[in-house]
């Protein structure tokens, strides 16, 4: 904390009274010029250096998830291009507006919001600061202000790849899916996963069946565990989740029962090294790295949503594959490659899945 206070004091000292700010930083959003010394060094280096700031959601910058990965992409911008990158942590939902304002006052050229929870706050900030560029991870809008870019991921594509792995790894011929709250976006996880299983069935001459269930919650670990237990009792021996905190319960159940689990969003192997065989990845760091450059260079205009997939290397499967035979891992990478080239077009809802199966 001491370090943070000192840093923010230095960063803001020119504009306002240092004392007020130290107290603001201490009790308010907890601003930190991240990357500490390295960031300020590159900041003073060259004329025309771009300043990019990201606002974390309430998970904080070390959340072992989106925020942490976003910051990794930001740091890459700093080291590769010499940009001045920093982050501001949000402690609670009400911090979003304040932190966005703070980033604007700080003279940022581009401001990233991480997570859909910040959707409305970022939109408001974009409307009231038309000359600053904004972008947000994992949220899309119906009517973007011209300076706001929404970034989403083709979750069906990474789900397809892990579905393929699941079908190859099951010995019982039955695999499961545990979903969070049913919605159009979440459907893409489920249907993409099923499509991957069907694809493997066709390719390998298997007849793997699948079942899925929605927990109607993203935070109920006990429920995730219970659903997983019921699927395991039903004969499933590879389970995939797209259910956030509910999914931790699923992984726990798999670990206890000695069956395989598949993680989501990030490499979740650390949660159960003996159970998690792979994870469906959203490469948030790649998204930040690429989109930031395109927005700053003007190659991409704001005001639209972008959906990144395998073609942009923004989704894929985890590198950890200790539990997978090399053949399966390599075949899965080959599947990702085919998606990348457009040889496989992954369905993202039940109707598309039907026609996908028919076309196999």
């Amino acid at each position: 904390m001491d370090l943070n206070i000192k840093l923010s004091r230095r960063a803001f000292a020119g504009t306002m009274g240092a004392a007020t700010l130290a107290s603001l930083a201490a009790c308010g959003g907890g601003a930190a010029t991240g990357g500490s010394t390295e960031a300020s060094a590159s900041g003073s280096a060259a004329e025309g250096t771009k300043k990019v700031t990201m606002i974390t959601d309430t998970g904080g910058v070390n959340d072992q998830s989106f925020n942490e990965l976003s910051w990794k992409g930001m740091q890459q911008l700093g080291s590769d291009l010499g940009w001045d990158v920093s982050y501001i942590e949000s402690k609670q939902d009400s911090d979003y507006m304040t932190n966005l304002d703070k980033a604007v006052d700080d003279g940022s050229d581009l401001i990233w919001g991480v997570g859909f929870a910040m959707g409305e706050a970022v939109e408001n900030a974009a409307n009231s600061n038309p000359d600053v560029k904004f972008a947000i991870i994992d949220n899309i809008y119906e009517n973007n202000p011209s300076n706001l870019t929404g970034v989403a991921f083709k979750q069906e594509e990474c789900s397809f790849a892990v579905g393929y792995v699941a079908a190859r790894m099951t010995t019982s011929g039955k695999v499961g899916f545990v979903g969070g709250i049913d919605s159009e976006i979440m459907q893409a996880f489920e249907q993409g996963y099923y499509a991957g299983i069907e694809y493997a069935n066709k390719e390998q001459g298997l007849s793997v069946t699948y079942e899925g269930q929605w927990a109607e919650s993203f935070g109920d670990a006990a429920k995730g565990k219970a659903i997983a237990q019921s699927q395991i009792a039903d004969g499933c021996d590879v389970l995939y989740h797209a259910a956030g905190g509910t999914g931790t319960g699923m992984i726990e159940a798999c670990d206890e029962a000695g069956v395989y689990a598949i993680g989501v969003d990030q490499d979740q192997a650390h949660l159960a090294p003996k159970a998690v065989i792979t994870s469906a990845l959203k490469r948030v760091d790649q998204a930040i790295y690429q989109i930031s450059q395109q927005l700053i260079s003007g190659e991409k205009e704001g005001g639209t949503n972008v959906t990144l997939g395998a073609a942009e290397d923004a989704v894929g499967i985890a590198e950890t594959h200790d539990l997978l035979p090399d053949g399966v891992y390599n075949d899965a990478l080959a599947v990702v490659e085919k998606i990348k080239k457009g040889e496989i077009v992954v369905p993202k809802n039940a109707d598309e899945l039907k026609s996908f199966i028919a076309s196999l």
């Binding site: 219970a226 905190g245 029962a257």
Partner: protein, 306 residues
């Protein structure tokens, strides 16, 4: 069929365990006349204390005890405010509910390099060993040890409240503290002990989530369990056995939503999501009848006041 039945029992017991501990805490506190809305917050503290201690000591039993103690410590705040200072007990409880998740997150960030969740920690054992019956229909019956402890605790609380002198005093203090006071019962001391005990139980409840059901603390590990436990207290007419039954009912409805929502003929999950609430209302109307709180519940006792 047998598989489903065993699964139903297993899930019911797993789901209800943290609720039972929370509800026992609620019963003890409220029987002595102190409303404890703060059960949720105390469970959160127990959850982080349990997971963090288990991580650093690698001994889940010590962690379980520490979780109880931390819950008791937070309850002490509630006791000071509501017994000594005769503050509004609801406000004090709400304050604890607001404070606890903040403290939990702060502690977690300090101890684990700024992460909002702990790493995987050592878990309490299951009654038949770690992976007994794995892959068989009986897997669900390999209960967490906490499930057994919850039943034992319920019996103990029942015994103490109804079969011992001290239990009679607790109930007297909750019904009519002035009368109890004139008979020489120390109302403040009794209430202090009961409120602290309620925190200890709530702490156990939190830990039975983070070091038994799952094996890490996350921000959503305890989300609303304390409030469901309080509902179970009212539902169970402020008795330990009634609250236990209510928790089982809540657990059972959850298990039903899971079993009905899976398999070959799934019922839409949105319809199932309302099942626990619908069933609660039906049972409340048909079987429970009038539920009356202890007379002095929520009323601070001030010596000599009329």
């Amino acid at each position: 069929m047998l598989t489903n039945l065993l699964l139903l029992i297993g899930i019911t017991l797993m789901y209800s365990t943290p609720l039972v501990f929370g509800a026992l805490g609620g019963v003890i506190s409220e029987r002595s006349g102190v409303t404890n809305i703060g059960i949720e917050g105390m469970m959160v503290i127990g959850a982080i204390a349990g997971a963090a201690t288990s991580y650093f000591t690698n001994n889940p039993w010590i962690a379980f005890l520490v979780a109880g103690l931390s819950g008791g410590l937070v309850a002490l705040l509630h006791a000071v405010a509501s017994v000594s200072f005769a503050a509004d007990q609801t406000v004090s409880g709400v304050a604890i509910n607001l404070l606890a998740p903040g403290i939990a997150l702060f502690v977690c960030r300090r101890l684990f390099d700024g992460a909002a969740m702990t790493p995987i920690v050592a878990k309490l054992p299951k009654i038949f060993g770690e992976s007994a019956f794995a892959g068989t229909a009986y897997a669900g019956l390999n209960l967490n040890i906490t499930t057994v402890l919850a039943l034992v605790a319920t019996l103990a609380v029942w015994f103490v409240l109804y079969k011992t002198k001290w239990g009679l005093r607790v109930r007297a203090v909750g019904e009519h503290p002035a009368a109890a006071d004139t008979l020489g019962i120390n109302v403040y001391k009794t209430r202090y002990i009961c409120v602290i005990l309620s925190g200890v139980f709530a702490g156990f409840g939190g830990a039975s989530m983070t070091i038994a059901i799952i094996s890490q603390f996350t921000q959503t590990a305890i989300s609303g369990h304390g409030f469901i436990a309080l509902a179970a207290v009212i539902f169970g007419k402020w008795t330990p056995q009634g609250a236990y039954g209510a928790c089982l009912l809540f657990g059972c409805t959850q298990a039903l939503t899971i079993l009905l929502g899976g398999g070959s003929f799934p019922v839409p999950s949105t319809i199932l999501a309302m099942l626990p609430y619908a069933m609660t209302i039906i049972v409340l109307i048909l079987f429970v009848g009038r539920s009356a709180a202890p007379k002095a519940d929520g009323v601070p006792y001030i010596k000599g006041s009329r």
